[in-house]
């Protein structure tokens, strides 16, 4: 007999470990919290709180001119539902309010407003000053102020021909668009949480509580132990996907143009690198606290920042763009957006599936290399 021959794979042992792990999942309220409650909370947050739609932004209108035209423009600002206007007569009154954070920006209607209007083509009729410490709001103030002026000019017939793009900006409904793009992205975050964070904790927990030593002393092989741990979390991940999708479609009214099957298939493929990453972290960390910190840094944050979920990849600096190729959530996010917004466009999906699969295989191989049935480090 070959002395190096190791134990044969046993289905009975695999099932025993899977069963044990499943029981533990259901007995541990925190696991269920992460798997089912957290997705709902995240979804609510992304659908309502993280929205680019802003109303009643506090701005100042500095009216330096008393002409009828200037008054009319000031009234147009005051009437806008996007702004809450504090009228002033002097920019020296408005500036301190901006510094104090009481205003997000102010519009100056200058003394020579009428003269500027008469110029052809009219240019810089007003000055807009915004608070750059809050870039999103600043952009909003600038754009909407410009929109208000354009609209006003048009209504007065000063500018009969307007570039269409600027008008569209005004009618643009950011709320709907944001939500549609964010919810599929939220799904990627949620799956990363379940796949990476939960798995990172389970193996580390066995080391911490000393149960791993007992498990290693039985004939169970590392392959059986790891697979047995993955199965319940794989199923849990798919359940969470289904739940989140159902919420997205029925509660938030996000259209799902592709099929549910494709969505679940994508999730299944994505779970491969996500679980692999979690397992790798916990085989190396052997301590729940460190494992969770590493999982946050190496799993959650990249999924949040580098997946194209919040920040567009094409607008990142080149080194970061290259780095995003190592983040499985990047592929998952783009594939999800395709399925939700466009449909089952397989030519777009296959490259993402291939990349996630490849990353998964690499991670699993690393896990296998680092797991020996021994307490040696």
């Amino acid at each position: 007999m070959n002395p190096h021959m190791s134990q044969r794979f046993s289905m009975q042992r695999l099932l025993a470990i899977t069963r044990k792990e499943t029981l533990q999942v259901f007995r541990d309220p925190s696991t269920l919290l992460v798997a089912f409650v957290l997705p709902l909370v995240l979804l609510l947050l992304f659908a309502y709180a993280v929205s680019l739609d802003t109303r009643n932004v506090r701005i100042g209108v500095v009216l330096e001119s008393d002409t009828e035209a200037a008054q009319s423009l000031a009234a147009a600002f005051a009437g806008s539902r996007y702004f809450a206007v504090t009228p002033t007569r002097d920019r020296r009154e408005a500036a301190p309010l901006l510094t104090a954070g009481k205003l997000r920006g102010y519009v100056v209607i200058p003394q020579d407003f009428d003269r500027r209007l008469q110029q052809f083509p009219p240019q810089s009729v007003v000055q807009v000053i915004t608070d750059g410490t809050q870039p999103n709001t600043a952009t909003f103030v600038a754009n909407y102020a410009r929109g208000t002026v354009q609209q006003w000019l048009q209504d007065r017939g000063v500018m009969p021909t307007q570039p269409v793009a600027l008008q569209q900006r005004f009618w643009f409904n950011p709320e709907m668009e944001t939500r549609r793009a964010l919810v599929p992205g939220a799904l990627a975050i949620i799956m990363t949480m379940i796949g990476t964070l939960l798995t990172a904790l389970v193996v580390a927990r066995e080391w911490e509580r000393g149960t791993m030593e007992g498990l290693f002393a039985t004939p169970a092989t590392p392959l059986e132990i790891l697979t047995g741990k993955l199965v319940p979390y794989f199923v849990l991940g798919l359940l969470a996907t289904a739940l989140t999708t159902a919420m997205a479609v029925w509660v938030f009214g996000i259209p799902l143009r592709g099929s549910v099957f494709t969505l679940l298939f994508l999730s299944a493929v994505f779970l491969l690198p996500a679980l692999g990453q979690g397992l790798l972290i916990s085989t190396l960390a052997r301590n729940q606290f460190i494992a969770s910190q590493v999982a946050l840094l190496a799993g959650f944050l990249p999924a949040f920042l580098l997946s194209g979920f919040l920040f567009e990849i094409s607008s990142m600096p080149l080194p970061l763009q290259l780095l995003t190729h190592l983040v499985p959530a990047r592929y998952f996010n783009s594939a999800l957006q395709t399925v939700f917004l466009a449909g089952d466009v397989w030519p777009l999906l296959w490259p993402a599936i291939g990349a996630m699969f490849l990353l998964g295989v690499i991670l699993m191989a690393l896990v296998a290399r680092n797991t020996r049935k021994s307490l040696e480090r």
Partner: protein
């Protein structure tokens, strides 16, 4: 290998090195089937490393280990089938029930489905856990957990059973049961290795391997080692005056190598070929006489490792004598604590006099810890009162806490802080500042010889130094009352003696000490012992008084452990439903 029996273990020149230390340095020995082999040694001797090597979980750097005919490196998979291994903190799955734990291990060992049920029933019967089979493992008492661990390790009838400190934190009653079970197993031909820091356990083994600093210091039946001490063990019964002071003076004599308090007596071990004259003089001066007694394994162990520590505690010398306004240092009346329907402490009342060592004993789950926590203000009683130095814990909790020192189980040091930072924290948290704080810290550092270790992490210290540090932290504010929660659990006899030297010294200065313990030896150090069982106080007396109470007839000599077990059994009988 020729003479090794099929079911035994053969160790040949086993060496195991870790980056910092050589844990085992050339161990060769034979462990036979059908008998119980004790693996004993002080902390850090390499016991756990050897256990893990035998279980095939570590590889030796040199040498070979053959377990039940299989090499632990070449045939690791055979080891896993033939060996039952119970690690030190047997990691039962606490969120699984007793039956689910058993079922997991049955399936991992691939027991045929038909056999599983029968095996569980046999093991549940064997461990007497059948009534609890549906209970979650995390809700079992310490003793029951160990029994369940043993049951899991026994799944699939291994030829060799490795038990790493199975009795740590287990009360005497459960311990007795573990022994009974292991006895039955060896009778059926199994080789059982039981590693332990409790030396009374080593004495009960057929064969003993004594490890010290990675080397095999003794290999043979325990009687052979004890025999070397013939004529060196003595007892000084019923001395006049303070027996702690007598012990201290005795230990400071060059002729004495080791000594402990035993109820009202002092037990001493003389140096080899020592002149006993000064000892006899000392005994006579205390109105007692030198009485030769049979040596114990512990005497031999301590003497083999170079004898116990001296008798004088520098820290105690340094302390100013404590004087309290009242004679009663700690008191409780009708103390009761409920957790939901469960009554953890039921109507407990007692008083502890100043300068007394008061022990709180009882099986796991008897309510010791709950009572203890209420007495030092960590837990609010449901009804009843607790007082420390005359201060009511319900009304003046923080004042009372300032007058007591608390040393928790496992020392509760901050692993991420250095030794110096731990001391500074302890001083700061008790409100010491400026020059006084610095002076106290310096004192502690000098007294406990911590100077060279100030920048190390507590986890890198040996157990003895950890204990010194923990004691230093709890004494920083010079408390008149000291609470010790299982202070020496899992600690070897030499470190334990050093610890008691300090405690005895402190008590002589008038400090009052409250202690919970599973060590019956430690109960002997106490002036009075309260025995708790099923949330109630069932006995309160001096150690000798409890032994007399438990004895069936007047001149029966019981050990503290026997007394403990009998009193508990008696309480069980009186509670039988009529």
């Amino acid at each position: 290998m020729a003479e090794s029996q099929p079911g035994g273990i053969e160790l040949q020149g086993v060496v195991k090195r870790f980056p910092q230390v050589t844990a085992l340095d050339g161990i060769s020995a034979t462990i036979r089937a059908g008998q119980l082999t004790g693996l004993v040694g002080p902390d850090g001797a390499g016991k756990t490393t050897l256990m893990r090597l035998m279980a095939g979980l570590l590889r030796p750097d040199a040498g070979h280990i053959t377990v039940a005919g299989a090499d632990t490196v070449q045939q690791q998979h055979l080891i896993a089938t033939g060996v039952g291994y119970m690690p030190q903190r047997f990691g039962l799955y606490e969120d699984l029930s007793v039956l689910e734990n058993l079922s997991l291990y049955a399936q991992l060992r691939q027991l045929p489905a038909a056999e599983q049920k029968r095996t569980w029933e046999r093991l549940l019967e064997f461990t007497r856990l059948a009534p609890f089979s549906k209970r979650l493992a995390g809700k079992l008492s310490g003793g029951m957990k160990q029994k369940l661990g043993l049951a899991c390790a026994l799944m699939g009838r291994p030829q060799v059973l490795l038990l790493d400190e199975p009795s740590v934190g287990v009360d005497p009653v459960s311990r007795q049961e573990l022994w009974r079970m292991v006895g039955e197993l060896t009778d059926s031909g199994m080789a059982v290795v039981w590693s332990t820091a409790y030396l009374d356990e080593a004495e009960q083994c057929r064969h003993v391997l004594l490890l010290n600093q990675g080397q095999l210091a003794f290999d043979g039946p325990p009687g052979a080692l004890t025999g070397r001490l013939q004529g060196r063990s003595f007892r000084l019964p019923n001395p006049r005056g303070d027996r702690r002071h007598l012990l201290q003076r005795a230990l400071d004599l060059p002729a004495v190598s080791d000594g402990v308090i035993q109820g009202h007596a002092v037990r001493l071990v003389a140096e080899a070929d020592a002149d006993l004259q000064p000892l006899q003089v000392l005994a006579a001066s205390a109105g007692s006489q030198l009485e030769a007694v049979a040596p114990r394994f512990e005497d031999a162990f301590v003497s083999l490792l170079g004898g116990g520590p001296g008798g004088t505690s520098v820290i105690a010398e340094l302390m100013e004598p404590v004087s309290l306004e009242s004679d009663i240092a700690v008191a409780c009346s009708n103390l009761t604590r409920r957790f939901g329907d469960f009554v953890a402490t039921d109507d407990v009342s007692f008083e502890v006099r100043q300068g007394e060592i008061f022990g709180l004993l009882g099986p796991n789950g008897a309510g010791k810890s709950t009572t203890f926590k209420m007495l030092c203000g960590l837990l609010k009683p449901s009804t009843g009162q607790a007082q420390v130095v005359g201060l009511d814990l319900a009304r003046a909790a923080s004042e009372a806490k300032n007058r007591l020192g608390y040393m928790a189980q496992k020392f509760s040091l901050y692993g991420l802080l250095s030794v110096r930072q731990n001391l500074e924290f302890a001083a700061g948290v008790y409100g010491l500042t400026g020059a006084c704080k610095q002076q106290r810290i310096d004192e502690m550092v000098d007294v406990f010889e911590l100077r060279p270790l100030l920048d190390s992490a507590p986890d890198d210290l040996s157990l003895g130094y950890k204990q010194r540090l923990a004691l230093a932290c709890s004494l920083m504010h010079r408390p008149p009352v000291l609470f010790l929660d299982e202070p020496t659990s899992g600690v070897d006899p030499i470190t334990r003696r050093e610890f008691w030297t300090h405690i005895n010294g402190l008590v002589r200065k008038g400090v009052t000490v409250m202690v919970t313990t599973h060590f019956m030896d430690e109960a002997e150090y106490c002036d009075r012992v309260a025995l708790m069982y099923r949330s109630r106080l069932i006995a309160l007396d001096t150690p000798d008084g409890l032994k007399r109470e438990a004895a069936h007839h007047g001149d029966e000599e019981l050990t503290m452990e026997e007394a403990f077990i009998r009193l508990i059994e008696r309480a069980d009988l009186s509670e039988l439903p009529v």
